[in-house]
């Protein structure tokens, strides 16, 4: 098993522990060893705290990265926001002047940023370290023919020169990962739209989400597969606001990819925390008995 330092962030372990549970269930089956960090903080978030003070934001991000550097490991994230902050810090701190500024602050706590740990979002970690075939082989109950709309969100892919994850105009990692489950990925017309969470003028995200959910509905997708907890909160809680505001009834359950993978690997539906969602992916239950070997 190949070890990687796990950076869970705030939103997933605090608000959506089912997603963290799914990560911890699925990765070891793909040959990835999860090494927990000690003393990590918020990444800090790339929207709010970064908007207060970029230098302080970079300094805290650099401190988080030094925790993985101490272990001599690359770091992996399960949230697109954490991925954005840590990847940007890694990129910006290649600049000598900026690195010196940040290291002056880190010196106050006896730390030094070296830039030796790379940052990987869990989807690309799985793609690059395990490979799609290994994911397919780990599936014991294929979600055959289930139509899943794809939502990449923004920060996994962009800015592409910093994230280095996939082609931002024509990405494939999420489609490929959905295919390994036996499901059918659907790239709806508004696939590139943002969830709108960062926007502080409510009408904009409401209209954006409505446009996106409409095209997902038109494609007759059963769920919206995504890989970011912020996008999840928008399309779950936010979908209720959209319905209330416009009187639409989309009823499209958003689901974090690794919960789908855990389910396909045999973890029972009831153990995956879906009952906490506003829109529950009940249609997954039709595969409940289709497994050869289901874990108790």
């Amino acid at each position: 098993m190949k070890p990687f330092a796990f950076f869970p962030g705030c939103l997933i372990p605090v608000r959506y522990p089912a997603m963290e549970f799914a990560i911890r269930q699925t990765l070891p089956k793909l040959g990835i060893e999860i090494v927990d960090l000690e003393g990590e903080s918020c990444c800090p978030d790339p929207i709010y705290f970064k908007s207060k003070d970029k230098v302080a934001w970079l300094s805290v991000a650099a401190r988080n990265l030094t925790l993985a550097e101490d272990l001599g490991l690359d770091i992996f994230t399960n949230c697109s926001g954490c991925t954005a902050t840590l990847s940007e810090a890694y990129h910006l701190l290649k600049d000598d002047e900026l690195r010196e500024k940040v290291n002056k602050r880190l010196k106050r706590i006896g730390r030094k940023y070296k830039g030796t740990s790379r940052i990987r979002h869990v989807t690309t970690l799985v793609r690059d370290e395990a490979g799609y075939d290994a994911v397919r082989e780990s599936v014991v109950r294929p979600l055959d023919g289930m139509k899943m709309a794809i939502h990449y969100g923004c920060h996994l892919l962009k800015p592409s020169k910093i994230m280095n994850v996939d082609d931002p105009n024509n990405p494939e990692v999420l489609e490929k990962l959905v295919e390994t489950l036996g499901a059918t990925p659907v790239r709806h017309r508004n696939w590139y739209l943002c969830c709108g969470k960062a926007c502080q003028q409510e009408d904009i995200p409401l209209n954006m989400m409505r446009a996106l959910l409409s095209t997902v509905k038109n494609e007759e997708a059963e769920i919206l597969c995504l890989i970011c907890p912020t996008c999840f909160s928008q399309f779950d809680h936010g979908q209720m606001k959209v319905s209330k505001h416009f009187g639409d009834d989309f009823h499209i359950p958003p689901v974090y990819y690794f919960q789908l993978l855990a389910y396909a690997q045999g973890v029972p539906y009831e153990k995956l925390g879906f009952e906490r969602q506003r829109f529950k992916p009940e249609s997954l239950r039709r595969f409940a008995t289709s497994s050869v070997q289901v874990e108790s």
Partner: protein, 172 residues
């Protein structure tokens, strides 16, 4: 045919270089100087699509003129940005308008101007080191999934990092 009147000083935009210098001090704030107003950032901008007020090219133009007064206000249009970085992907000059907008928000923060929702999250982070608040209920939920309780963040370290540079450390 009437003769064009001679422009007076009132017709000429006065560039506020001081505002631009302040922005250039923020990380990547200086990138705006490379903008040549082509507008490539606008087409794929989701906020521009759904808002009558938000236009990244216009914001870069205001920066070039140093029209900070139009941006450095409560309810600033800057906070309509969705931070999607489509503009940065499209920009032929690598201006990263989304990043310049965050630098402008840093200037807003220097004036102590924040949208209330953003300020609440910032304060939670400064107090607890996390953007989502911890509680016993959180740990009970985690226990249901066999996950250990959340560990507190070493705030002594975080607080020290948040302090601005001392004279000894030099200017930032």
């Amino acid at each position: 045919m009437t003769k064009a009147s001679k422009p007076t000083n009132d017709d000429v935009v006065q560039v506020d270089f001081d505002f631009r210098r302040q922005l250039a001090k923020k990380v990547e704030g200086n990138l705006a100087s490379f903008c040549y107003q082509c507008g490539a950032c606008v087409g794929d901008c989701p906020a521009a699509t759904y808002s009558d007020e938000f236009n990244p090219r216009e914001i870069m133009l205001k920066v070039l003129y140093g029209l900070g007064k139009e941006l450095m206000i409560e309810d600033s249009v800057l906070w309509q940005c969705t931070n999607c970085y489509n503009c940065a992907e499209r920009c032929p000059q690598d201006v990263k308008p989304a990043e310049v907008i965050i630098s402008l928000k840093n200037m807003l923060a220097d004036l102590n101007i924040y949208p209330p929702a953003a300020l609440k999250i910032i304060e939670t982070f400064e107090k607890t080191g996390r953007t989502a608040p911890l509680s016993p209920a959180v740990d009970r939920q985690r226990e249901r999934f066999g996950l250990p309780p959340m560990q507190p963040v070493p705030m002594d370290e975080i607080s020290k990092l948040l302090e601005p540079a001392t004279d000894e450390e030099g200017t930032e």
